[in-house]
């Protein structure tokens, strides 16, 4: 499989294929509908949003959220910090235009923020911009953001989360009607692509905005086409009917050999998967009868041979989990519990779990038996579940597997209706995003702390780190916080989600970013001598 990957991944990045042109078809399993940025939650809708709309600036390649270093201007040509850092004046690019030709103004920035934080709109980014007090309009091209407090991530919080939308299109829509209003579906943005047509259940087509202030996209068109499921999308890729399929499963990689029209393109991500152990009882508010005990959690962690499981499921394409973060954000000084079955057994012995006649341990009449829940939509997690069941049998634990479809998995995960679950997390790169997953605040509805990990000392350390302007102190506090969490063993860190896209060989991609492989889509190119029929359509209008 590694050889296949190597053969397929010839260097076709850093697109610079000469004349602009070409059509890229992205096969999407399942349905999608275009949505405003504040409602875009799935990978496809976020992809579409990021092509059509702009932020004030874009985060650096390393996704640093500390200050504004490395941020590149987008709709804001420049910005000026107030001496006390309690406000930032953004100077809107005077050349920026909406797709209907109207100029982008500072009032659009204010409007976008007001909509995003208005509870009536139900925006999904409102919890992420709470430190921003307001945005005022100094003049037609200057919007001033006022903050409630200084923080190292204040610039990131505003600029990364907020896409700018047109006030003249959406201003007349009632805030609580934005999710379904026709005006919301027009997708009038300022990005390098604009919406050409949308056929529900079939396709969505974006075309290059030739008058864009950042220069026209190097592709003519990007078409998102609906495939029934992953298998149908794979069929479209392998037959050359589609050009891109995102997040291809590991077993498809081997089929993308040199004879295939597509190649596998790996890219970094921020997502990871872990076996989460629920520390709260499913009924009532007390601790979980098994996982409320740290010794049990630690024993489970140490009983699992994570490397062997990784090889079994992903062969050589897996990336071992190193903690509650992706490897690219990991601190190598943080050590996680090692694989040591003898110690795991000793831990259980000392905690009073005695082996019964059937081989299953028990304590106080309660068997060391629990269920592991996983979504049927994830083949890797399904395979991990079976391996975990088998490995834990060796320490006297009886594991039942609960397979549920994805909506059910989400509901039970959020409701805490599980003993243990194979959870995938996809946090933002900033420390503030980690709060949602592991602090007490993340246990509230809408949070991601599904295992109900609750350690006030951890929360305090993380809060101090987030608020610290001293880089060294921040790193130290962060390291101590993560080590504390890892020692508490709320989960077993299984693997980083290794993302790979299948991309047609004629396409030259840019380097794919961890926060969105699609970030550079407007700069992908197709050399003129490799173009096929659909690349030669250009930007001419459709037949009536």
């Amino acid at each position: 499989m590694t050889a296949t990957l190597a053969a397929g991944c010839t260097d076709r990045s850093t697109g610079d294929g000469g004349d602009p042109g070409g059509t890229v078809i992205i096969a999407v399993p399942g349905t999608f509908t275009p949505a405003l940025p504040i409602y875009s939650v799935t990978a496809t809708t976020v992809n579409i949003t990021s092509q059509v709309y702009d932020r004030l600036a874009t985060a650096p390649e390393n996704l640093s959220s500390f200050g504004d270093a490395g941020f590149e201007p987008r709709l804001a040509r420049s910005w000026t910090w107030a001496p006390d850092s309690m406000s930032i004046a953004f100077h809107v690019n005077p050349d920026a235009r909406w797709h209907d030709g109207r100029p982008v103004r500072a009032s659009d920035v204010k409007f976008s923020f007001d909509v995003a934080r208005d509870p009536r709109s139900g925006s999904n980014i409102a919890p992420l911009i709470t430190n921003i007090d307001s945005i005022s309009v100094r003049d037609s091209l200057t919007a001033v953001a006022h903050f409630k407090s200084r923080s190292p991530e204040q610039f990131y919080d505003l600029v990364y989360q907020l896409y700018i939308v047109p006030e003249h299109v959406l201003g007349g829509v009632a805030r609580d009607q934005l999710t379904t209003a026709d005006a919301s579906k027009l997708l009038v943005g300022s990005g390098r692509f604009r919406l050409a047509r949308f056929e529900p259940g079939a396709r969505l087509e974006l075309v290059a905005d030739t008058a864009n202030y950042r220069g026209r996209a190097k592709l003519d068109r990007v078409i998102f086409t609906v495939a029934a499921d992953g298998g149908a999308a794979v069929a479209q890729i392998l037959s050359g009917q589609a050009d891109v399929f995102e997040f291809i499963p590991p077993d498809l990689v081997a089929r993308l050999d040199s004879n295939s029209p597509a190649r596998a393109v790996p890219f970094p991500g921020l997502a990871y998967a872990y076996l989460g152990m629920n520390q709260r009882a499913q009924r009532g508010s007390g601790p979980h009868p098994l996982f409320g005990d740290r010794a049990v959690r630690l024993a489970v962690s140490m009983a699992l041979d994570r490397e062997a499981m990784l090889r079994n499921v992903f062969d050589t394409l897996g990336v071992l989990g190193v903690g509650p973060y992706a490897r690219r954000l990991a601190d190598s000084a943080v050590t996680i519990p090692p694989f040591d079955r003898a110690r795991a057994t000793a831990l259980l012995d000392s905690a009073g779990w005695r082996a019964g006649p059937n081989g299953v341990r028990a304590k106080g009449g309660r068997a060391l038996a629990f269920s592991v829940m996983y979504p049927t939509s994830s083949k890797p997690r399904e395979r991990y579940a079976v391996l975990i069941q088998e490995q834990l049998r060796s320490i006297g634990a009886r594991v039942d597997l609960t397979a549920v479809d994805f909506p059910t998995f989400q509901r039970r995960q959020e409701a805490g209706e599980f003993d243990a679950a194979l959870i995938s997390a996809n946090p933002d790169a900033n420390l503030g995003g980690a709060r949602q997953y592991w602090t007490a605040g993340g246990m509230a509805r809408g949070g991601q702390n599904f295992v109900k990990y609750n350690n006030p000392r951890f929360d305090a350390l993380l809060d101090s780190a987030v608020a610290s302007f001293d880089g060294a102190r921040r790193r130290d506090q962060t390291r101590r916080a993560w080590q504390m969490l890892v020692d508490d063993a709320p989960g077993v860190w299984l693997y980083d989600l290794l993302f790979m896209n299948a991309v047609h060989r004629r396409i030259r991609t840019t380097d794919l970013r961890a926060d969105g492989w699609w970030a550079g889509l407007a700069d992908w190119t197709i050399p003129a001598d490799e173009r096929i029929d659909r690349d030669r359509v250009g930007l001419r209008p459709a037949q009536p």
Binding site: S123, G201, Q413, V537
Partner: protein, 296 residues
């Protein structure tokens, strides 16, 4: 029943959907009301011709159905016509050559095809003709990149090319069934007295079957057509998923997965109507085929 399925109608949107937005959407779509009230409202709305709003597709249910039903009818209609054509021809072929090696071979092939699961057959055909020998598209109804730039003739050809594989799957799957049914029906008619009389009067063997026996063996085939009409609807669910054909089958499976209650219920309604329609067409067909029924 669909409400019994675990999951939130808006859970498929991802956990980043805030509780406030979920609650707002629940209220807007009426999911916060008691189930009995929801049902009453739904029935009253259906009586007025309103089938509700699909939150997964962000459009009225009626619009979604109006888009999907013709696509499924196209697929089903073509498949049904070709299935019967092929199936009846095979049945007559076997009846005329009964006892020969050709009839036995045909019988064996129809048994095999009849036994194969539709999804497996579909996947194999897709693999064979869209991947190994890539002469047909791997899915969809038309070329998403070029369809809008084709001449009418090119567009028609494109549509036909996209129809071939899903129709072929359905025709092989149901045609074998029809063939066996036709063969059995002919086997019942051929020993009858009027056939013996015709044979004694010197009617050639091929005319005996096609002109005399077939007409009388048609009534069971009309029953079968009425039965296959909704049966194919179930089959197209699988075929539409394999070939990414955006018809009713695709619509229903996505609606169930998204807990899109109005769309699921409307789709079930449509299925029920099609069953009734199939039976009605069969009854009408009886009258046309059998003058005794018309006289009665």
């Amino acid at each position: 029943m669909v409400h019994l399925a675990p999951g939130d109608p808006f859970g498929a949107e991802g956990s980043r959907l805030t509780p406030e937005l979920r609650e707002q959407l629940r209220v807007r779509f009426g999911y916060d009301r008691p189930l009995v009230e929801q049902y009453g409202r739904y029935v009253a709305n259906v009586a007025r011709g309103e089938l509700g709003f699909s939150h997964s597709l962000q459009m009225p249910v009626a619009t979604a159905l109006a888009t999907a039903i013709p696509r499924t009818l196209l697929l089903m209609g073509v498949a049904l016509a070709l299935s019967f054509g092929l199936g009846m021809w095979l049945g007559v072929f076997e009846a005329k050559r009964r006892g020969t090696a050709a009839a036995r071979a045909t019988n064996a092939i129809t048994i095999v095809l009849y036994s194969l699961p539709a999804f497996w057959l579909g996947l194999m055909i897709l693999l064979a003709f869209a991947y190994w020998i890539p002469i047909f598209p791997a899915g969809g109804m038309r070329d998403v990149a070029l369809a809008d730039y084709m001449t009418p003739g090119q567009a028609l050809l494109d549509r036909v090319k996209h129809l071939v594989l899903p129709v072929l799957t359905l025709v092989l799957w149901t045609g074998a069934y029809v063939a066996r049914y036709q063969r059995a029906a002919l086997a019942e008619v051929l020993p009858l007295d009027f056939i013996r009389t015709a044979r004694a009067k010197g009617v050639p063997a091929h005319a005996l079957v096609s002109r005399h026996a077939l007409r009388n063996a048609l009534l069971p085939m009309i029953t079968l057509a009425g039965y296959l009409f909704p049966y194919l609807l179930g089959g197209t669910v699988v075929i539409e998923r394999i070939y990414a054909w955006p018809g009713m089958g695709w619509l229903v499976t996505n609606a169930i997965g998204s807990r899109d209650y109005p769309l699921v219920i409307a789709a079930v309604l449509v299925g029920g109507i099609m069953v009734a329609l199939g039976n009605l067409l069969a009854d009408i067909g009886y009258g046309l085929a059998d003058p005794r029924i018309r006289a009665r």
